[in-house]
Symmetry: C2
C-alpha cells in the first residue's frame, strides 16, 4: 500500500523546476515517478510531448456508463531560491512539527499524492470500482501552462467524456476549515512605454520645455482609477456579474476579520474598493494593478536627468462575465486617451485569460442548467469534508487565477470541484514551503469518501 508521506518525500526529491533548463533531469524524474504511481494504480498512461515539458495523460476506464472524474494537477514546482533561507535543503524533504517541508510539498505535489493515496485505498477495497478516472498532470503550470491550449484542443473529445473535474490547487484559511473554490479571476496583461526625446536630457538645460516621460507615465496611470477605488476605464464593469446573496453569507463564515487581515498584511489601511469590503474586494471585484514601473535614474542619491522613456507593467484581474479581450481593448483605449500628445506611447499586449465561475448546486437564486453528475460531485465533496474535517466547507470565490481551468471549461464544457488543500502557513512559492500532515491525512479520508460516493459504493 502506498505510504503517503514516504511517497510525497520521494516525489519532492525530484527537483522539477519547470522554468529553469538546468532542472531538466528533475522534471524528467518527477514525471517518471508520477507515471509509475499511476501505472501502479492500473492506469494506462500516455506521456504527451509538448514543446517543453510533456503532459501526463492517464486513464482508468471501465464501462462508459460509469461516472467519470477528471483530476488535474501539475508535477512542476517553483524555483527554490533563495536557497540560504531554507532551514533544510528544499529538495531533501523533512518532517518537523507535523509538517512535511520541501519545494512543491503543498504546490502541487502534496495534493496529487492525497488524490493518489485515496484512490489507492479505495481500489484496494474495491478493485472493480465502477468509476472512470482520467488524470491530466502537466509540467508547465508554474510558467503559465503554455502547452495546455494545444493539448486541450487535441484531447477535447476524450476529456469531455468526463462528468467533472477535481482540482486541489487552491487554498483554505487553515487546516480545519476547507474552502471549495467557486471562481477564479481572469487576467489581462499589458505593458506601456512612454517616450520623449531621443536621449536623456539635462534637466537644467531642457527642464520646462519637454514633457517628462516619467510625468506623462504617472499622469496616465493615475488616471486609471477613480477616488472611490474603481477602475476608470469606460465599460470596465459592464459585464461584471454581481455577487450572489449566498456568497456574502458564506464569506461571514470565513475565519478572518478585516482587523486580522490588516494585522497579517501590516498595512496602514485598506484600499477604497469601490463599495466592497477588503475581504470581498479580493474575491468579487475586478482590479487594475500596477506590477512594476521604472524609468530614469534609480541609483543612490540624485541625477538631474529628464529620461527619454519610462514604463509601467500592469495586470487586470477579471471576474465573471468580463471578456478578457474586450477589457484589454478598453484599457488600451483609456491609456491612449490619457496620453499627452507631446510624448509617444507604445503598448505591449500580454496574454489574457477569462475568469472561471461555477455555481454549486442549490447555491444560486437563479440556478444554472447544471449537470446532475456535477451536482453529485459537489454534494459528495460537501459531505466528505464535513465528515472528515468536522466542518462544512465554505464556498467562496478566489482572487487568484488558474487560467487552465477556464480553458478546460472552454474546450470540454467541464466544470471543476476545487477543494483547497493549501493554507497560508504553507509558504507557497517561498522558502520553507511545507504541507500540513494532519490536513493531508484528513484530506485522503475525504477523497476516499468522495471517490466511493461518486462511484456509488459507499
Amino acid at each position: 500500500m502506498l505510504d503517503p508521506i514516504e511517497t510525497l518525500k520521494d516525489y519532492i526529491r525530484f527537483p522539477s523546476v519547470s522554468t529553469d533548463r538546468a532542472y531538466v533531469d528533475g522534471m524528467q524524474g518527477a514525471r517518471a515517478y508520477a507515471v509509475n504511481l499511476l501505472q501502479g494504480l492500473g492506469f494506462a498512461v500516455e506521456v504527451v510531448p509538448t514543446e517543453l515539458h510533456p503532459i501526463i495523460f492517464a486513464q482508468r476506464l471501465g464501462a462508459p456508463t460509469w461516472p467519470h472524474v477528471l483530476i488535474y494537477g501539475h508535477y512542476d514546482v517553483q524555483p527554490a531560491d533563495p536557497f540560504e533561507r531554507w532551514t533544510h535543503p528544499p529538495f531533501e524533504p523533512q518532517v518537523r512539527d507535523g509538517r512535511l517541508y520541501g519545494r512543491g510539498a503543498a504546490d502541487n505535489k502534496g495534493p496529487t499524492i492525497v488524490h493518489m493515496a485515496a484512490l489507492a485505498r479505495v481500489l484496494a477495497q474495491y478493485p472493480q470500482l465502477p468509476l472512470n478516472v482520467t488524470y491530466v498532470i502537466e509540467g508547465e503550470e508554474e510558467i503559465g501552462s503554455p502547452s495546455m491550449a494545444q493539448f486541450l484542443e487535441h484531447y477535447a473529445e476524450r476529456l469531455a467524456q468526463a462528468d467533472c473535474m477535481l482540482v486541489s490547487d487552491t487554498g483554505s484559511p487553515n487546516a480545519e476549515q476547507l474552502v471549495v473554490t467557486t471562481a477564479l479571476r481572469g487576467l489581462v496583461d499589458l505593458e506601456i512605454t512612454v517616450r520623449g526625446a531621443k536621449t536623456d536630457l539635462h534637466s537644467g538645460i531642457h527642464g520646462g520645455a519637454v514633457y517628462n516621460p516619467l510625468q506623462a507615465l504617472m499622469e496616465i496611470c493615475a488616471g486609471l482609477h477613480k477616488p472611490d477605488g474603481s477602475v476608470n476605464v469606460p465599460g470596465f464593469y459592464e459585464d461584471v456579474l454581481p455577487l450572489f446573496a449566498w456568497e456574502r453569507e458564506q464569506l461571514k463564515r470565513y475565519p478572518e476579520t478585516i482587523d486580522s487581515y490588516q494585522a497579517i498584511l501590516e498595512v496602514p489601511g485598506f484600499y477604497p474598493a469601490n463599495g466592497l469590503t477588503p475581504l470581498e474586494a479580493v474575491r468579487f471585484g475586478p482590479t487594475l494593478e500596477f506590477n512594476g514601473i521604472g524609468g530614469g535614474y534609480q541609483g543612490e542619491g540624485s541625477k538631474t536627468v529628464i529620461p527619454r522613456e519610462a514604463f509601467a507593467k500592469l495586470t487586470c484581474r477579471l471576474v465573471a462575465d468580463q471578456d478578457p479581450a474586450r477589457i484589454q481593448d478598453q484599457v488600451v483605449a483609456a491609456i491612449e486617451a490619457l496620453c499627452p500628445a507631446a510624448v509617444s506611447l507604445e503598448v505591449r499586449r500580454g496574454p489574457v485569460a477569462g475568469a472561471y465561475l461555477v455555481v454549486p448546486p442549490g447555491r444560486s437564486n437563479t440556478p444554472p442548467d447544471q449537470a446532475p453528475a456535477l451536482a453529485q460531485a459537489f454534494q459528495s465533496a460537501d459531505r466528505a469534508i464535513q465528515h472528515c474535517f468536522g466542518k462544512a466547507p465554505i464556498y467562496l470565490r478566489e482572487g487568484g487565477s488558474i487560467p487552465v481551468i477556464a480553458d478546460f471549461h472552454k474546450h470540454t464544457g467541464l466544470d471543476a470541484v476545487m477543494i483547497g488543500l493549501f493554507t497560508p502557513m504553507d509558504h507557497l512559492h517561498a522558502p520553507d514551503e511545507s504541507f500540513d500532515l494532519t490536513l493531508m491525512n484528513h484530506a485522503i479520508s475525504a477523497f476516499e469518501r468522495i471517490f466511493c460516493d461518486i462511484a456509488g459504493v459507499s
Copy 2:
C-alpha cells in the same frame, strides 16, 4: 610666451577625474600644472587643503585702489567613460578640423587657458598692469563643490575685496554668437518612498484590498502638476521674479526657433509650460521634474505582484527670488497632503541651492543699486565680444545650475560676468568632448581687451 593650444593639451593630459579615487594622481598633476602656470604669471599661490581635492587660491595684487577681478574655474573633469566611444583616447588630446579633442577641453580647462593666455599677453605688454587679480580654481565642481562652502566662509573677507567675478563655465549657441549668462537656476532635491504591506503581495490573492504603493506613488506625483503645466504646489510661484521685457527682446536674437529646437530634441511636442514658450520655459520658469522612478517587477514579461514599495526622485529648478528651503518645505507639504492614508510615506530631503541672477547695467526697467565696477566689467565684456566676435553678446538666463556662484554672492556680495565659451557642439560630459579653436582664439583676444579695459590701459 604661453602657447594656448599646447598649454591646453598639456593640461588635458592630466586625467583629473574628481569623482574617482583612482585618478588622484591626475588631480594632483592638473593642480600642479595650473599652479605652475599661475606662478609663471607672477601670482602668489596658496593650495588650500580640503577633505578631498585642494582649492587653488592665487593672487596678483598691487595697490588696493586698482580694480580687482576674481576669476573662478575648476581643474577637475567628468569621468571619460564610455572610453570605447571616443575617437581618440580622452586624455591624449588631438586637434582635428579646428577643434581640440579631449576630456575637459571645454569643461573647464579650455576656458581657464583662455583666461590665462589673455592675461599672459596683457602682462607681456604691460608688466605693471594696474589690475588686481584673484584666482579660485577648485577641484570638486563636477561632484557638486562640497568643499566650497567652508572655503568661502574662511576666505570671504579676502575674496570680497574683488569688484566682480569673471566666469566662463556656461554656454553659447555657437562659436560666433556669445551669450553672457545673467542667471542660473537653483535646485531642490527630494526623494519619496511609498510603502504598503511588509512584503510583496500576490496580486491575485490580495489585489483589490490593498492600496498598491505604485498606484499611490503615481497618484501623488501626478498631483504635482496642473493641466497648464504649472507646478501644483501652494506658494510655489509666490516669489518668482517676472521676466524683464528686455529679456524677451534678447531671446528673440537667440539663433534657435521652436521648430529647430523640436528637431534637435526629436520630441513629438512640447510641454504646456504655464504660458511660456519652450525657449522661455527653460530659462525663466521654475520646474518640478521627476528624474527617476522605480518599484516592483522590472524584468522581462510580467510578474503579478503588488510591490511593497515604490520610489520617485525629483528635483525642482528654481528661479529668482524663490527661497530653496521654503520651496522644499512646500513641495514636501504638498506630497504629504496628496498621500493616501492607506500607505506610508518617507521623504528624503536632498541638498538645496538658490538661483542666481544679475542684471547687466542699463538692462533693467528698475535698475538695482549696481556697483560701478561691476557695470564697467559688463560694459568691457560687451565691447570686447562685439569687437572680437563681430556680434554683441545676448544677455540671457540659463536653465542649468552652478550653485557655487550663488554661494560666492552670498558670502562675498560679488556678482559674476559669465561669458559662455561652450557650444552645443562641444559634447560636454560626453565622449569626444572638444573645444572650438577659432572660438578660443577670439575669446583670448576678447579677454585681453576686457583685462586692459578694466585696468584702464586700453
